[in-house]
């Protein structure tokens, strides 16, 4: 189904009429003024100071070997389960650290997202709705970086890592436009082009930029349509702050004990850097951890991947909590889909979107909540079915962004979350 502002899409008719009836309709958030993306977002109080870390397990992690084990069943695989700090809830034995931190974590075990092809599923989960030919939607993280942006910040609103071979996806900025592009860390954990050209003094760098800005301003003063020059010059102004924040991307600045705690794996380093960025008030950070696409030897690969995830994720949660940042930081663990109940002839599990799990902690999350259920073999959702749009709406709601507020894309009012999305209130505070 495509959204065009029709009442048939189960949205309140008045919200379709937009601003004219805003006084009557609480669902219209005048702060989120879409396409004219240059306009400032007037953040409601409750979303102020909120931040997000996305951990993207690229390729599709197995719910059986993590959050929704089925011990003793044909579909269950060889691992045992262990009890957690929530009475009655067990996780796979590969996650002992997470098991003892469940009071911080909520799990949704009942996702049915239908789409089980990598690219399309990754688009679906990351934009929170099916792709549409006529409208290029932004990724959830991009929307959040706009909505949670800190006014006059020198830092980027969104930093996205993807240094692993799988899940090399740049967040889609969609109709929000290029100035909402995240700072991409693709080659290393340090941004590209952050150092001035070799041999160029700071004075020279400034002096030539001042001249550039002066020439541009003079030129624009006489020109019709010169608003775009303002945006152009402001992009150049912003790089000063980025170049000054060089130290943020330098993990040597962390005490050795902290670095040891996160470990030297790329995932560990990225999570540590994410915490540094969160501490410096960057609103959105995304980390991708690849190699989960286990069509072969699912159990061997999960035996390697899950303990690393268990360790680093737990350290991150502890670190955020110790610094008083967990209250205001949502940590989301996502994949494009889960893996099949059926174990194939290569001892692998294939793509499976009909019944899988995600986990989250921190801002807005009611820790210790296990939402939804799958059947005995994990073949289908038994209770509390949710889709990608519901998940997106829940993510927005968790940090106080009204998922029903709208952007204006041309003539079309576009709600942040799909119009029929249902917030999973049970896992929210």
């Amino acid at each position: 189904m495509r959204w065009c502002g029709s009442p048939e899409h189960r949205i309140h008719r008045r919200s379709f009429l937009g601003g004219t009836l805003a006084g009557l309709v609480s669902t219209v958030n005048l702060g989120g003024i879409g396409l004219s993306a240059a306009e400032p977002t007037i953040a409601p109080l409750r979303q102020r100071g909120k931040q997000v870390i996305f951990i993207w397990l690229a390729g599709g992690s197995s719910q059986f070997e993590t959050w929704d084990p089925k011990p003793g069943r044909d579909t269950g695989g060889p691992f045992r389960t262990i009890g957690t700090s929530i009475p009655g809830y067990h996780v796979c034995e590969l996650m002992p650290n997470i098991a003892s931190r469940m009071k911080h974590i909520a799990v949704v075990r009942s996702l049915n997202t239908v789409q089980s092809e990598h690219e399309q599923a990754a688009d679906l989960v990351s934009i929170g709705r099916p792709k549409e030919a006529a409208l290029d939607y932004p990724e959830i993280g991009v929307v959040m970086s706009k909505e949670l942006a800190v006014p006059d910040s020198e830092l980027p609103d969104y930093v996205s890592f993807f240094t692993t071979s799988e899940g090399r996806r740049r967040p889609r900025v969609g109709f929000l436009g290029a100035n909402h592009s995240p700072l991409l860390l693709e080659k290393s954990i340090r941004p590209e082009d952050l150092d001035p050209p070799p041999g160029m003094s700071e004075i020279r760098h400034h002096s030539r930029e001042d001249l550039r800005a002066l020439l541009s301003d003079r030129f624009a003063r006489q020109q019709a349509g010169s608003e775009i020059v303002r945006g152009y010059n402001s992009a150049y102004q912003k790089i000063r702050g980025l170049m000054r924040s060089d130290h943020l991307f330098n993990l040597e600045k962390e005490p050795l004990t902290v670095r040891e705690r996160y470990g030297r794996s790329p995932f560990g380093q990225q999570c540590l850097l994410a915490r540094r960025l969160i501490e410096a008030r960057v609103p959105v950070v995304k980390i991708a951890r690849g190699f989960w696409d286990s069509h072969h030897d699912n159990f061997e690969s999960h035996r390697e991947l899950v303990p690393d995830f268990d360790h680093v994720f737990s350290v991150l949660i502890d670190d955020l909590a110790a610094r008083g940042l967990l209250e205001s930081t949502l940590v989301m663990v996502l994949s494009e889909f889960g893996r099949t109940p059926v174990i194939n002839q290569d001892v692998g599990r294939d793509h499976f979107a009909a019944a899988w799990s995600v986990a989250m902690a921190g801002a807005g999350i009611r820790g210790g909540t296990i939402y939804g259920q799958t059947d005995a073999d994990g073949r289908a959702v038994k209770d509390g079915e949710a889709n990608a749009s519901d998940l997106a709406a829940t993510i927005y709601q968790a940090v106080g962004i009204d998922p029903r507020s709208e952007y204006q894309a041309g003539l079309r009012p576009v709600p942040l979350a799909k119009e029929d999305a249902r917030v999973i209130k049970e896992i929210l505070r």
Binding site: S207, Q222, Y232, A235
Partner: protein, 513 residues
């Protein structure tokens, strides 16, 4: 010329208060551009708009070079143009640009963006478009070859790439065909009659799907199945089969099938061919969509805006111009060069960028003032390379191939030209700090810097730099300021490099104006 356009012209001349001497003799029609200008001027009069003055010939020459060849002129080209004293030197230059090989090479990338949208950049498809422009194919021919071929030889085979990349999803195929070629977005009418646009009902959407639903294939081939229907369910209704129906509402009846279809033979009857036939009979949708996209490309905004929203509820901002151009285009064999020449030599394209003093600036939809347009990454990068170069650029195939190689590396680092253009810090960081940019300034291969450094003093350096990069002479105040700036730099060796960097990264170079 149609009776309608004559009537318009006569009306204009009689009621527009023109002198009798300007009255045309019907036996010798006026050049089309005079008609177009007449329509523009009567619109501005009706709207009480005081249009901007004409920009200098040098300014529109640079503007047109960027639009039609995707780059700034070289110093030699600038000089040749400046020393030509003929009163119609701009018209002549446009004709020369359009008849050159470089136009086909570059403008194919513009057509590629128009047709393919976000899927643009396929080398085979681009090759097909370049060849088509070289052969002076009309837009109708390109449209037909993209949709139904024949894909019978190496030159035409890549035309099928458009369909090939959309085979998996008939909704995407339907939406993209309709948006790219007919300037209409009917995707909202998939679930229900369009809530905002009266014209588009579910019947239109599924009528278009019906033309395309049998299209299939894969792995480099596009085929059409002998069977398959577009089915949909109306609100509170039962599932039904949609007949083929073009956007005009014209329905196509499928002929009865022959009793014994030959096995494994492609179907003789093609629904896609019916779509092409309907569009060619109608002319209107095909013609106006292309006219509007070209106008948007050249003026930064469509006569109908947005370009995929051509419907009765969203009329053109200058209806007479839109209708006349669409008629003219269809009547003249969908000749792409003729259309471009008309637009580029028109009064609207020659506008200066400053509003006349005292008057409040007319809205962008009236095209009475030239507005800034960001260069595309291709235009910007090519222009930087050529402007910093050795003035030996003659657009030979070798030179183009060399530039193309660098474009592949550099283009993704720049902000794309979108409807709502936004600059990013990523581009600014790249231009300010990257090795790749520094390399372009490497004096060994950079002859502009070498030339400037050989000049005897800063004053001459400033004048030569502004001329080479901005295509105009500097003002006195500008020269004074920049000479002072150069003198004040502590690192005098690097000062010229930094001046050139500042000019290239400034708005006057980054935007077309």
């Amino acid at each position: 010329m149609t009776a309608k356009s004559w009537a318009l012209l006569l009306g204009l001349l009689v009621f527009g208060g023109q002198k009798a001497a300007a009255f045309p003799r019907l036996s010798r029609p006026l050049p089309a551009v005079v008609l177009l200008n007449g329509l523009l001027e009567s619109h501005w009069q009706e709207q009480h708009i005081n249009p901007a003055k004409q920009a200098s010939n040098e300014a529109i020459f640079r503007r047109a070079m960027l639009d039609l060849l995707g780059r700034v002129p070289t110093p030699s080209e600038q000089e040749a143009f400046a020393t030509n004293s003929s009163p119609d030197r701009f018209e002549k230059a446009v004709q020369q640009i359009l008849s050159g090989r470089e136009f086909s090479w570059y403008f194919a990338t513009v057509l590629d963006d128009m047709i393919q949208g976000s899927a643009a950049g396929n080398e085979r498809f681009l090759g097909y478009l370049r060849e088509s422009l070289r052969e002076h194919k009309g837009w109708d021919t390109i449209f037909r070859e993209v949709l139904i071929g024949p894909w019978d030889n190496e030159a035409r085979k890549p035309a099928s790439v458009f369909l090939e990349s959309r085979l998996k999803d008939v909704d995407l195929l339907t939406t993209d065909v309709t948006r790219s070629f007919f300037g209409v977005d009917i995707s909202c009418a998939r679930c229900h009659n369009h809530p905002l646009v009266q014209d588009w009902k579910q019947d239109h959407y599924y009528g278009m799907v019906a033309f395309l639903v049998r299209t299939g294939g894969g792995k480099g081939s596009v085929t059409e199945k002998p069977e398959g229907e577009a089915k949909f369910t109306r609100k509170h209704g039962k599932e039904q089969v949609a007949p083929m129906m073009f956007l005009t509402g014209q329905k196509i009846e499928e002929p009865a099938k022959p009793k014994l279809p030959a096995p494994n033979k492609p179907p003789v009857y093609s629904r896609r061919a019916e779509l092409v036939k309907s569009a060619m009979q109608d002319k209107r949708f095909l013609s106006q969509a292309f006219v509007n996209r070209c106008w948007e490309y050249l003026f930064g905004r469509g006569l109908v805006d947005p370009v995929d929203q051509i419907h009765s509820g969203n009329p053109a901002s200058i209806p007479a111009v839109f209708d006349w151009l669409a008629d003219d285009f269809a009547e003249h064999g969908y000749d792409i060069r003729r259309l471009i020449a008309l637009m580029v030599t028109s009064r609207a394209y020659r506008m200066d960028g400053t509003s006349p003093p005292g008057a409040s600036a007319p809205g962008p939809e009236h095209f009475a003032v030239s507005r800034l347009r960001p260069l595309t990454p291709r235009q910007y990068v090519t222009s930087v390379i050529i402007a910093l170069g050795d003035d030996q650029y003659r657009s030979t195939p070798e030179q183009q191939a060399a530039i193309d190689k660098r474009l592949t590396e550099l283009m993704p680092r720049f902000d794309p030209r979108t409807r709502e253009f936004q600059s990013s810090s990523r581009e600014a960081l790249f231009v300010s700090n990257s090795d790749a940019m520094a390399k372009l300034f490497d004096a060994k291969e950079n002859h502009l810097l070498a030339r400037l450094k050989q000049l005897p003093d800063h004053r001459q350096r400033v004048q030569a730099a502004i001329m080479a990069l901005f295509g105009r002479a500097p003002t006195q105040a500008e020269t004074d300021h920049l000479v002072k700036w150069l003198t004040a730099q502590t690192d005098s060796k690097a000062a010229v490099d930094d001046l050139v960097w500042a000019l290239i990264a400034s708005a006057e170079f980054r935007f077309n104006h």
